[in-house]
């Protein structure tokens, strides 16, 4: 089973990398960009086929390692 985990900065947390990318897009003439926030994507392959078990495993993975919940949120897509 394949899953995708998306980790993003919580709103309110300063994202200097996103700001720099936003500035670069503007300087490239890409119009209509109001703001950019940078995040991370993890594509995870799971051995089992049970969706509920997979969700629980990925949640544990996020809490233990993939996200720093002080500053980041995560979303699991199965």
């Amino acid at each position: 089973m394949k899953a995708r985990v998306v980790v993003t900065l919580k709103s309110g947390v300063l994202d200097p990398q996103g700001k720099a990318i936003e500035g670069a897009l503007k300087s490239l003439g890409v119009e209509g960009v109001a703001s950019v926030r940078q995040g991370k994507v993890f594509d995870v392959e799971l051995a089992g086929a049970d969706a509920n078990a997979a969700k629980a495993q990925l949640q544990a993975a996020c809490e233990k390692l993939l996200a720093n919940t002080v500053i980041e949120n995560y979303q699991i897509d199965l």
């Binding site: 947390v13 300063l14 200097p16 990398q17 233990k64 390692l65 720093n68 002080v70 500053i71």
Partner: protein
């Protein structure tokens, strides 16, 4: 004082740290590998040195913070044992849950490598007793992710309980403004755990222990530790 330095893949300041500890304590520290499971018997102080453990993959200190040896370091800290984390070591302490908050990318996005003045917030801890309260010291910094962030409640608690160890200041001791190199909240350069037996700081006191390389203001931190146990 029996000290141990933990070496992770990508640590690079462990020799500097060992030199500073040897100078202050009179004997070389034990060098531990990240895959070790226990500390040498009678260890008083565990040090996590600077560097780029695991290439800063995922987040700075994230993978090192979950290395095998860290369970032993957590147990040591829970017993009241002394733990010092410098630079990447500070990032590892935050990622391992031994200290609150997180070190984010410097606000100006630049890696900063320069001399830096710090204000010593208190001198009644195992790490700072050889300094005076409010003293301005000059050490060096070298980091790209030293921007200390925590939620408002945590910052309030750190301030209220006197857990800020060092703040960035200028040569006259004025805190903040231009002298803050990375955008760190409240100009925080280092913090203590609740019991003040764990200290994490971004600057490198271990590099300022010899007049040959620009100063000796870092030496007293190690002398404080040497006299602590």
């Amino acid at each position: 004082m029996k000290a141990a330095v933990v070496v992770f893949p990508g640590s690079n300041r462990e020799s500097d740290m060992a030199r500073a500890l040897t100078q202050a304590t009179g004997r070389p520290p034990a060098m531990l590998w990240h895959a070790d499971h226990e500390l040498p018997a009678g260890t008083d102080l565990v040090v996590l040195p600077g560097g780029f453990s695991y290439g800063d993959y995922l987040r700075c200190g994230a993978i090192a913070g979950r290395a095998a040896i860290m369970d032993a370091v957590r147990a040591h800290a829970a017993r009241g044992g002394l733990v010092l984390g410098v630079c990447n070591g500070f990032q590892i302490l935050c990622e391992s849950g031994l200290l609150p908050g997180v070190l984010m990318r410097n606000a100006n996005l630049r890696f900063v490598c320069r001399m830096q003045h710090l204000k010593v917030e208190r001198n009644d801890t195992a790490f700072t007793r050889q300094y005076t309260k409010g003293q301005t010291i000059e050490v060096c910094i070298a980091h790209g992710e030293g921007n200390y962030e925590a939620d408002d409640a945590t910052i309030e608690r750190l301030e209220g309980e006197g857990l800020v160890a060092f703040r960035y200041c200028d040569s006259a001791g004025a805190v903040g403004g231009e002298s803050n190199p990375n955008g760190s909240r409240n100009d925080i350069a280092g913090i203590y755990s609740d019991k003040r037996n764990v200290l994490g700081l971004m600057p490198h006191p271990e590099n300022l222990i010899d007049p040959l390389v620009g100063g000796t203001d870092g030496r007293r931190l190690f002398e404080s530790l040497a006299s602590a146990a």
